[in-house]
């Protein structure tokens, strides 16, 4: 019985290590490199009309069932939340790249 208990608790400890030990680590924690993160989250569009891009972003978020939380034309950001038994928050930014493109970055 004792042996079983030791094995079981060892297994438990092993499983628990998958969880974080110090939650403070999360402040600066990233799972991918900075460049990689940006690559995954960003797409370029062939337009210079940033305002129109932001309006399209808002319309798309609404199509996906989001309610907009914040929008800022100066900064080029839009945030929204989707509630459907879960809560999903997303921020999209649009900024110009070069003279012909607009970069759109979505973060969840």
């Amino acid at each position: 019985m004792k042996k079983t208990f030791i094995i079981a608790s060892a297994f438990l400890t092993l499983c628990l290590t998958a969880c974080q030990t110090t939650s403070m680590n999360q402040v600066m924690e990233t799972s991918t490199s900075q460049v990689q993160t940006r690559q995954i989250q960003t797409r370029a569009f062939d337009t210079t009309n940033r305002k129109q891009t932001l309006r399209t972003v808002i319309a798309t978020l609404q199509d996906l069932g989001f309610v907009i939380d914040k929008a800022d034309n100066e900064l080029g950001t839009v945030s929204g939340t989707k509630l459907d038994g879960y809560s999903l928050r997303m921020t999209v930014t649009a900024r110009p790249r070069g003279k012909k493109q607009t970069l759109v970055r979505a973060i969840m």
Binding site: T4, K51, I58, Q62, L64, T81
Partner: protein
Amino acid sequence: MRQKHFSTLCVCILAMLLTACNQTIPKQALQLSQESMTLRQLQTRSFNTSNEKKLLTSGAGVLQDLGFNIDESETSLGVIVGSKDRDATEAGQIAGAVAMAVLFGVYMPTDKNQKIRASLITRPTGKNKTNLRITLQRVVWNTQGQISKTQSIVEPEIYQEFFSKLSKAVFLEANEI
């Protein structure tokens, strides 16, 4: 012997459950559903005006008529966000909870408060045409302060009522009443 195995199994299952720390968001969360087109039609009305600002002001007015507070606005993008805190008590739920308490002596938390959020977006779609789309959602807390519901509001009647109020407001403001 059998008991030993059983206890080991129990502890292992518990451990496995604990490792699933994070709440998961379904993979299809960002896929357009079949209802999304219907929802868009339900939530959108087109107005014969090129005056986006005026339409936005009317929309804000209706939100305020309905008791919403304006949380955020960006007129250059045609965005207004509002919310209101309301009671969420439902008679049916209370009756159920009372029945449970009487029959089984179990306390069942019931819905208590809710926060209703609205985002109202205007968008010029052509010459003399502006679209207005409103999306609504709510979060409900129970008597123990836990979140019991997080949902988008998709009831057609609610949107129909909003737009009938909006038409009225647009009319009143156009005629300066």
